[in-house]
């Protein structure tokens, strides 16, 4: 068993990346991600990690260099947030279309304007559709475990993986974390062997122009591989459980067996919400929680199964999709339910934006509203939660 240590989550994440024996780290500083790459730079400069650290001049360059390095057969890592992710944006669909197993940690942060360094999911939702496998961590232990998992999945599925951690409220917290023993990491993540790469001994062409005769087929091939990655993701978690004893699933549930209403949450807020579930359960209220761990590919069947017998759910989104029928998660959930016989009422609230705290009392209010929504008229809309009138 690995040792339980007290670490800032960012440091633990960087240690996990180093345990995965990355060859190339390419990153640009941005709050609240910096502690991760600073620590990796420390490890490299102290000779504890045999890797090239490229101190690039922008996030766009960070991903560009990862693409070049990964295409050459190197295991790569980068990390960013908010404006950095947006500046990197152009490279994201290229990384996935090239089927490169790049791993990126996103310290989720609100996007400008107004400029905010604080947490929400506005940044990562912009890359929702770009062919990156995406997981969300709720705490430091999960952050570390999802990093190991990311390399395993990326290199099996040959697709890039983004691991999401809530900025500050996960990244900057010192808490107990258990890192895997190195030999287990080595077993879980064997050396990267790429079938096709930039190698003068076997020249290939990467990035040819997709004429109309082939563009559709190219995207279809990518999409099939992406959909197939669901199984890779699940299998990698099953294997992870065998070596660590820690169990992860695409959709996690909490006290859903007999729940009448539930909250649907992604990221670290779900843990705080558990306390509210416990408190309300003590008062005899049948409430539950659905936590989305795997956001892309979206685990539709798991999600529908997780609903149990609920009559109403509140999807608590952390990002806006201006003028849409809901927040990104809300839209996804409603769309999934449309094909299902099970169709609880869906209230879609968008909140905890730009670092606004959601307290136990707030969650109580959310559950109250979900109960009263059971009998309300369905609405295909969203509401911003907590905005002062």
């Amino acid at each position: 068993m690995g040792k339980r240590v007290a670490k800032e989550v960012s440091i633990a994440v960087a240690d996990a990346v180093a345990q995965c024996k990355v060859d190339v780290v390419s990153a640009y500083p941005i709050t609240p991600q910096t502690h991760i790459v600073e620590h990796l730079a420390d490890l490299v400069n102290n000779g504890e990690l045999d890797a090239e650290y490229i101190p690039v001049e922008s996030e766009h360059a960070a991903m560009s260099a990862c693409i070049g390095a990964a295409a050459t057969g190197a295991r790569t890592f980068t990390s960013t947030a908010a404006q950095g992710l947006l500046f990197m944006y152009e490279m994201l669909p290229i990384a996935s279309a090239f089927r490169l197993p790049i791993v990126m940690v996103i310290a989720n942060r609100a996007i400008s304007a107004p400029i905010s360094i604080w947490n929400d999911h506005g940044d990562v939702m912009t890359m929702r559709d770009l062919g990156w496998i995406q997981t969300f961590a709720e705490n430091g232990q999960e952050a570390v475990d999802l990093v190991y998992h990311a390399y395993r999945v990326a290199e099996k599925a040959m697709l890039p993986v983004a691991v999401n951690l809530d900025g500050f409220i996960v990244t900057h917290v010192v808490e107990p974390v258990e890192l895997l023993d190195q030999e287990l990491v080595d077993k879980y993540i064997p050396p990267l062997k790429m079938k096709h790469k930039l190698d003068p001994k076997k020249p290939i062409t990467i990035g040819a122009i997709g004429v109309p005769e082939i563009y559709t087929e190219a995207r279809k091939a990518q999409d099939e591989a992406f959909k197939a990655s669901y199984k890779v993701v699940v299998k990698a978690w099953q294997e992870f459980e065998k070596i660590s004893g820690r169990r992860y699933q695409p959709i996690e549930t909490y006290k859903m067996e007999d729940a009448e209403v539930a909250l649907v949450i992604m990221g670290s807020l779900a843990e705080t919400a558990m306390n509210t579930v416990d408190a309300l359960r003590e008062k005899g209220k049948k409430v539950g929680l659905i936590r989305i761990r795997l956001w892309r590919p979206f685990p539709t069947q798991d999600f529908i199964k997780a609903l149990g017998k609920v009559k109403a759910i509140t999807v608590f989104d952390r990002a806006l999709s201006h003028g849409a029928t809901g927040g990104p998660v809300g839209i996804e959930v409603r769309s999934a339910l449309y094909q299902s016989n099970k169709r609880p009422k869906v209230l879609n609230l968008i909140g905890a934006l730009g670092g606004r705290d959601v307290t136990t009392e707030d969650f109580e209010e959310l559950f109250d509203r979900t109960f009263s929504f059971i009998k309300a008229k369905p609405r295909f809309a969203y509401e911003i939660f907590g905005a002062k009138e």
Partner: protein, 319 residues
């Protein structure tokens, strides 16, 4: 002076490999003066080379699926970031060599081919970052002085008063109102091991420069003049003539800068031809009035003299 450069005596034309590493069947225009320096560079660099192309004509014409003209490993990622992609490749090779996954002694050239738009404009930050970080790669800027791939729009590399579709020779404004950006100065200011300008007409000079670029450890940059008959309104058969005239008129002096400190003029032009001789072969300059040509001539003289002077003052030490 760098010993690896001092030792190098020049390529022998007879010993050049007969093989080319770019295959025919590419879709460049007739008389393309941009694919030509690309071809010549690969002849020198040989098969142990990984190439990165920026988005642009050279990328489009060599890779319409399912065909590729590249006989070496090649990657195209986007318009602006080829230097950074090359940074990633360089770092990967360094790490993988240390870990024994690539044989340590294997010499792999990394070469970037990028146009003037990708280099002077949209990619300048990326180029600067990669040069500053000291990656071991060769950047070849194929300068055809406008965005040819998208239909001849002006770039930072477009000459003064040239007609392009976004700097048209109008009745009031007579073409491109800015002087060509001094990219060479910007690049040389990075104090990289090797910088050179080149023109394909002086092919041995150019190929020797490519060789030198591959000999130095660290970044090397070659700015090569690359005529575009389609964009310039010149005749395909005049491509090499233009490549000669640009040098003989002193518009594009051939020189090298070693480590940012030693300047070497490769071709002293004592009896320059008038710029008009060069300009008149191209439709993009046909609207020029005599006084405008005079302005250009004056600027050309000044620029050439400045470079020549630098080459005198900052000549490498004689061994």
């Amino acid at each position: 002076m760098r010993p690896e450069l001092a030792k190098f005596k020049g390529l022998n034309i007879k010993e050049l490999p007969k093989e080319d590493w770019i295959a025919p069947g590419h879709r460049a225009c007739q008389g393309c003066g941009t694919v030509l320096p690309l071809k010549l560079a690969l002849k020198v660099l040989g098969p142990n080379t990984i190439a990165v192309s920026s988005t642009g004509c050279m990328e489009i014409i060599t890779s319409p699926f399912p065909f590729t003209s590249w006989k070496i490993p090649w990657i195209h990622v986007a318009f602006e970031n080829s230097a950074t992609v090359a940074s990633g490749i360089d770092s990967a090779i360094k790490a993988l060599k240390r870990k024994g996954k690539i044989p340590k002694r294997e010499k792999i050239n990394i070469v970037v081919f990028a146009g003037d738009g990708a280099t002077f404009d949209i990619g300048l930050q990326f180029v600067s970052g990669a040069l500053e970080r000291g990656h071991n790669f060769i950047y070849i800027c194929l300068d055809n002085e406008a965005y040819m791939n998208t239909g001849v729009q002006r770039s930072g590399g477009t000459p003064f008063l040239a007609h392009t579709t976004t700097s048209p020779a109008g009745k009031v404004i007579h073409g491109n109102i800015t002087w060509k950006k001094n990219l060479d100065g910007i690049i040389a200011a990075h104090n990289i091991p090797y910088f050179a300008t080149a023109s394909p007409a002086f092919y041995m000079d150019y190929m020797n420069k490519v060789k030198k670029a591959s000999l130095v450890e660290g970044p090397a940059f070659i700015h090569v003049y690359s005529p575009c008959p389609t964009g310039w309104g010149s005749k395909g058969e005049d491509t090499i003539k233009l490549c000669k005239l640009i040098v003989e008129t002193r518009i594009f002096p051939l020189y090298e800068v070693i480590d940012g400190k030693y300047y070497i003029l490769n071709r002293k032009v004592d009896k320059p031809k008038p710029v008009e001789e060069y300009l008149k072969l191209q439709r993009r300059f046909r609207h020029l009035k005599p006084e405008e040509i005079e302005m250009i001539q004056k600027r050309v003289n000044e620029d050439y003299e400045r470079i020549a002077k630098m080459c005198e003052v900052f000549a490498p030490p004689k061994d």
